[in-house]
Amino acid sequence: MPHVELKNVTKRYGNVEVINGLSLAVEEGSFTALLGPSGCGKSTLLRMIAGLEEITQGQCFIAGTEVTDVPPAQRGAAMVFQNYALYPHLTVRQNIAFSLSIAGASREVQNKRVGEVARMLRLDELLDRRPAQLSGGQRQRVAIGRALVREPKVFLFDEPLSNLDAMLRVQMRLELAKLHQSLKTTMIYVTHDQVEAMTLADRIVVLDKGIISQVGTPLELYNKPANKFVAAFIGSPAMNFFKAEIAGRDGEAYSLNLPGGRTAKIVSRGGTVPAAASVDVGVRPEHLKLGPAGAANSHFDGKVSIVEQLGNSTLLYVDTPAGQLIVEGEGNLKIAVGDTVGLSLDPAASHLFGTDEKVI
């Protein structure tokens, strides 16, 4: 039985539909990321689970109980906000103990629970400070502590790392991963940062304009995107796309007439498409192989217009008959701007997308 479940959930603000008949099941103990560009409805979805947004239509279940109309505090969900939402006039201790103190817990119980949480999050030294006297990372830990102290069934994170600098983000990411490993509580994490989603989550839900585009493990999304949106959204640098024409079919593979006159064979994922149809070909930068220009096995010849050397890899921006393609090569590549190179597609790692943008 799923731990958190949304059934046919719709959210409307007046006439504007933000989420449209969405269904989602999250397994107990999983770390699920809701990933999508801004405005895709991912935060709204999280807030509906928390009870901070009303569900216009549909149902929400937590641990088998319907909570669609249950007030936030009684849902057993704790939330960490993007801007922390710490009570500025209270000390760290009072912030963490707030829910206990509201519920009338004794001073001893409060101190004991705050002590446990503070040790776990290394906040012991900071308990008597106010939020204004803390750094961004410390504030984030207090916000997590405030959620932890409630011993919730589900943790909800709303872009919790987006206000931190890059170094701290990596560090907090590790801490969150460790936290999930030790607590094994269900966590739902909203982010627009695919790296965060890929590294933290065991399952990613990609959202696009209020509907689920694809659900899967990080590698499933990366290697087998269900549509062009997911293919383009996941991966950095982004996947290359160009148009090609179907020439024929050979079992699971389609032969294609590529721009520039050459042909290629690409293995399909089981979809069918009529001959002579125009399709989008998607190929990741690391799946384009470099070779000498004019080689028999290359699919495009092109001229290098930009070279980005990143140390562990080199990114080449190559102008080809199919438009500009990004190619990822080794770190010590000896290629200069203006050189002509040949590019070949990896037939098993390239993707075909139909006019409906779904994978073929």
Partner: protein, 292 residues
């Protein structure tokens, strides 16, 4: 080094001089003059004879002065804290509204504040008129007969206090609303998730976070209401003014109606001391509350 420091001092002196001059000329000098005047029997215009502490002796035996001090204090008690509390209550309600409806309601509460006191006086004088005032339809059945609020001494100060709160509340409401808008929405959401009831949200989040605005409102109100004059003067016109006298009104009466500038100055010195004492006392109390 020394020379440039001297230059700096010169520039500083030149820049500060206009303020020092105006402050000294318009505030310090008249204040000292007032204190000096309080030891003389001067009329409103022209010099008087030095009479030592006679004015102060007279002040302590002066029945009307005692009444004025009491009425002023009573008025402050009736307006400052109750008015601020009412403003906070209204602001809390208005802040729950949205869009144009909020603006409409807010303007309705703010409207009296833009009226001059004479208009406020006429409005309420009509409303409470013994013969045709519509407020008498409410007062009549409750009291058994129509009442002349402004000629019934126990009703006078509470009446003026209610009208003053109605008149000046818009400003406090505006200050409170600004304070309430500064509280991030997420804090309320976090509190909702933490299980706080509406009352707990108010006592533990809203109220502590708008405490600085409350201090500001109370201070502005205190200073304003200690200087009460125009409302009391207008509503007591033609009545027994000695019974409803307030301090500034007494200064006005002594100086401009009884032509005794020396004694008026003595009353003014007393008011000056009272305002300072009240302000320091309130500041200390609020500081202690705020530091907690």
């Amino acid at each position: 080094m020394l020379k440039s420091r001297r230059n700096e001092m010169l520039v500083a002196a030149v820049l500060v001089a206009p303020f020092v001059f105006i402050y000294g000329w318009m505030f310090v000098y008249p204040t000292l003059q007032m204190v000096q005047l309080s030891f003389t029997n001067a009329p409103l215009i022209g010099p008087g004879k030095w009479i030592g502490l006679d004015n102060y002796k007279r002040l302590f035996g002066d029945r009307v002065f005692g009444t004025a001090v009491w009425n002023t204090t009573y008025f402050v008690l009736l307006t400052v804290i109750p008015g601020t509390a009412v403003a906070l209550g209204i602001a809390l309600m208005v802040s729950r509204l949205n869009g144009w409806f909020q603006s409409l309601i807010l303007s309705a509460f703010f409207l009296p504040f833009v009226l001059p006191i004479t208009v406020v006086y006429l409005i309420w004088d009509w409303l409470l008129n013994l013969q045709f005032g519509i407020a008498q339809y409410i007062i009549g059945p409750i009291m058994g007969k129509p009442m002349n609020v402004w000629r019934t001494i126990p009703w006078f100060m509470p009446g003026v206090a209610i009208i003053t709160i109605w008149w000046t509340n818009g400003f406090s409401i505006l200050l409170f609303l600004a304070g309430l808008r500064n509280i991030p929405k997420e804090l309320y959401e976090a509190a909702a998730l933490d299980g706080a009831t509406r009352w707990q949200v108010f006592t533990r989040i809203t109220w502590p976070l708008i405490w600085p605005v409350t201090v500001l409102c109370l201070t502005i109100q205190l200073i304003l209401q200690l200087k009460i004059f125009d409302q009391v003067y207008l509503f007591s016109l033609g009545g027994r003014t000695a019974a409803t006298m307030v301090m500034v009104q007494y200064i006005f009466e002594q100086a401009f109606q009884k032509n005794s500038g020396g004694y008026a100055a003595t009353v003014a010195v007393a008011l000056f001391v009272i305002v300072i004492a009240f302000s320091v006392f309130q500041y200390q109390v609020l500081r202690i509350r705020g530091a907690r």
